[in-house]
């Protein structure tokens, strides 16, 4: 099974840089964005993105807004919310809005990787189902014609 394709979104550049290095060391393909807007732009040019790790508290467009936008445009891409304790309510709200899960900062690398893997697996199984459904549809149409 190939390693998941992940996007890391946070306004803290230092955090992103180190985390990116650590994720890449664990053979994940990592894309980074330093703001919500940046992230949405980058998603549009990377359609094979599987999981987004999204910080809730960001200046400008905050995590929740990005999540809502993502679910509207790319409902199949899984989102993991990353939060400080003060914004746990928004994380819960995020879960309600369709986030895959949330993690509290600072988080254990192993835990993060595990969550990402789960999210990616979910995404892949969904993709598979969709593919299968599509195939069936095509086959059915052929069978009919």
């Amino acid at each position: 099974m190939s390693k998941p394709f992940v996007m890391l979104v946070d306004d803290e550049a230092e955090f992103i840089d180190t985390t990116t290095k650590r994720l890449e060391k664990r053979d994940l393909k990592v894309l980074t964005a330093y703001s919500g807007k940046d992230a949405l732009e980058k998603v549009s040019s990377n359609r094979n993105l599987e999981v987004m790790i999204l910080d809730v508290k960001m200046p400008g467009m905050d995590g929740l807004e990005v999540l809502q936008e993502m679910k509207k445009k790319y409902p199949l891409i899984e989102v993991i919310m990353l939060t400080g304790h003060a914004t746990i309510e928004s994380a819960i709200e995020g879960m309600k809005a369709g986030a895959f899960d949330y993690l509290m900062k600072p988080c254990e690398m192993d835990q993060l990787v595990e969550k990402v893997q789960e999210a990616a697996d979910k995404k892949r199984s969904q993709d598979e189902k969709i593919e299968k459904a599509r195939m069936e549809k095509v086959m059915a149409s052929r069978g009919l014609s």
């Binding site: 955090f15 180190t18 290095k21 400080g84 304790h85 003060a86 600072p106």
Partner: protein
């Protein structure tokens, strides 16, 4: 008054906004002046309001009373004088009729017979007492032809006498009172009879004293008496001694009566002595005489002045009663207002204190959050180094294990930081009053964990004893956290530096149906009996100034009551204190209750 209190409220609110803690003596003085003014205003308003209608009513009533009493007195006087006037007129006309009858029924020869006159006089005296003194027959030359009576007046000549000059020209005549030959006051009645060719007059003397009794009997009150004046203003009856001297002043009545058309005239004017008198005057004897009734005004209207005096006394007594009551009431009221203001000020202070605490809390939350991010980065960096150390080139480094240990330490300490900041954040959050289903055991455990640090500083051990599987309660977790935190902090504070044990237990209550009871028990110094009853009062604190707000337990009380629960306290000095909090759980019908009922019956 409402306006004043409104103003007061604004004022104190205005004072409260700036730092009221530093209320200088100057400020207190202006405050005192303000309350003084407030008191004065209230007193003035209340007195004005209560006295104005009272005065008006008294004035109107007294005026009405005095007017009607005057009218009554006047009417009474008029009636009385009228009656006496008739009496006297009747008296005179009766006497005259006697003489006229005598003259008409007897011829002149018989009349001049002295023995006949004597007999007639005796007859009249028997009939009327001593009214008739004597009788005589006088011819037109004024010579008394015959006489019957006690004086030696036979053959006396009256030609020059004043009465004779007038009597000879009239059929009958009643004279004024005069001294005459006998030297004592009397008046006479004459009847003229013509016996051709000459004219005779029968004269009869009326005893003055007998006549005098007619008016002497007319006495009212202490000073009311009557007398008779003739047209010259001379007394026809015996006057009071002093009145004889002021005879001139009675001319006024003669003039007045001549102008008047009424039969009885009532006048108020001062007499010779200057004192105000009430006079009732009636004409007698066809206008020749005046019957005058005289009474001191004060005497006549004594009832009025008595009523005035009594109402004056009542007014003074009642008025001073009102004034004293008003002053006492106002004092009490202003004192209450002062007290209320002070309490409000205190409350305001506490509000500011609470506000400060809240902002400190928010600040702490902000700081905690800001620290969280750098700590996260640090932990990440350490993790990254750890990752790198796994590469082969470092595997042989002699300090590898040391590096790894240091990095693990960084990770551990980072996690510790995280824990601290998370706890800080969870308590700095605004008190959320949204109601949720809460498992009390979990909630309390959380609080105990949080308080453990502080407890350790104070050498306090916290032990817990939770009954498992307690039913869920419906309340605001943030509020319940506050209650528990307050109770635990109170216990820790109570034990001071000496340390001790706090035991926290939860279980289903045996005393209260459908309640969970939480017990917080310490083995501190305990609370004296005298403080125990006030312990839930707001602002009651035994802590030094600035250390406690005195709000903690009252807030607990408020929250517990609000959630339908109860709180109580037991304390033994030297042994410790136990707080118990009862919280109701789901009402019957809810699965929670049914689920836990069997558990309850077992306990």
């Amino acid at each position: 008054m409402t306006e004043r209190t409104e103003h007061l409220k604004e004022d104190s609110a205005g004072q409260a906004a700036p730092p009221i803690r530093k209320m200088s003596s100057e400020g207190q003085q202006t405050g005192r002046a303000y309350y003084g003014q407030l008191r004065r205003n209230i007193i003035i308003t209340m007195i004005t309001v209560s006295f104005t209608p009272m005065l008006l009513v008294i004035a109107i009533l007294l005026f009405q009373f005095s007017t009607s009493y005057h009218e009554k007195t006047y009417a009474h006087l008029e009636e009385m004088v009228q009656k006496h006037k008739q009496n006297i007129d009747t008296f005179l006309s009766e006497k005259l009729a006697n003489i006229r009858f005598l003259v008409a029924s007897t011829n002149i020869e018989t009349l001049t017979d002295k023995s006949f006159l004597q007999a007639k006089l005796q007859q009249l005296q028997e009939e009327y007492g001593d009214v008739f003194v004597d009788m005589g027959v006088v011819d037109e030359t004024g010579k008394q032809l015959s006489y019957a009576g006690p004086y030696e007046l036979h053959n006396v000549r009256y030609l020059e006498a004043d009465w004779f000059k007038r009597a000879i020209n009239r059929d009958f005549f009643i004279s004024d009172v005069f001294m005459g030959l006998r030297g004592s006051p009397h008046f006479i009645i004459t009847v003229r009879r013509q016996y051709e060719p000459s004219v005779f007059i029968l004269r009869a003397t009326i005893d003055f004293r007998a006549f005098n009794t007619l008016v002497e009997n007319l006495r009212v009150g202490e000073t009311g008496h009557a007398f008779i004046l003739n047209k010259e203003g001379r007394f026809q009856t015996r006057p009071a001694v002093e009145e004889a001297r002021w005879q001139n002043s009675y001319d006024y009545f003669v003039d007045r009566m001549e102008d008047s058309k009424r039969s009885v005239e009532i006048i108020e004017r001062p007499d010779g002595s200057g004192a105000e008198h009430l006079y009732a005057i009636a004409e007698l004897k066809g206008g020749d005489w005046l019957l005058i009734f005289k009474q001191e005004t004060g005497d006549a209207f004594e009832d009025i002045s008595r009523v005035f005096r009594i109402s004056g006394i009542i007014f003074l007594l009642g008025g001073s009663g009102i004034v004293m009551t008003v002053i006492a009431l106002t004092r009490r009221m202003v004192r209450r207002i002062m007290k209320a203001d002070k309490e409000k000020e205190k409350l305001n202070q506490q509000m500011i204190e609470a506000g400060k605490l809240a902002s400190v809390g928010e600040l702490a939350a902000g700081i905690a959050h800001e620290i969280n991010n750098p700590v996260a980065i640090m932990v990440e960096e350490a993790g990254w180094i750890e990752d790198l150390l796994e590469e082969e080139e470092f595997a042989e480094s002699e300090n590898l294990s040391e590096f790894q240990r240091a990095l693990r330490q960084i990770g551990t300490q980072g996690r510790r930081c995280k824990e601290i900041t998370h706890k800080l954040l969870s308590f700095a959050r605004k008190t959320d009053t949204t109601v949720k289903d809460v498992q009390l055991n979990d909630l309390i455990r959380e609080i105990v964990d949080l308080s453990a640090q502080m407890a350790r500083y104070n050498k306090v051990t916290i032990t817990t004893e939770f009954q498992p599987d307690l039913p869920y309660v419906t309340l605001s977790p943030a509020e319940m956290q506050q209650v528990m935190l307050n109770l635990i902090n109170n216990a820790i504070d109570a034990m001071g530096n000496s340390g001790g044990t706090i035991h926290i237990a939860t279980k289903l209550s045996r005393l209260e149906k459908d309640h969970i009871v939480i017990t917080v028990e310490d083995n501190g110094p305990g609370i004296p009996e005298s403080n125990l009853s006030r312990i839930f009062d707001p602002f009651f604190t035994t802590k030094p100034v600035g250390k406690g707000t005195g709000l903690g337990l009252s807030i607990c009380y408020g929250i517990v009551q609000k959630n339908g629960g109860n709180i109580d306290v037991h304390s033994t000095v030297g042994k410790g204190t136990r707080f118990r909090v009862w919280i109701p759980f789901q009402k019957p019908g809810n699965p929670g209750k049914q689920k836990y009922k069997p558990t309850r019956s077992q306990t």
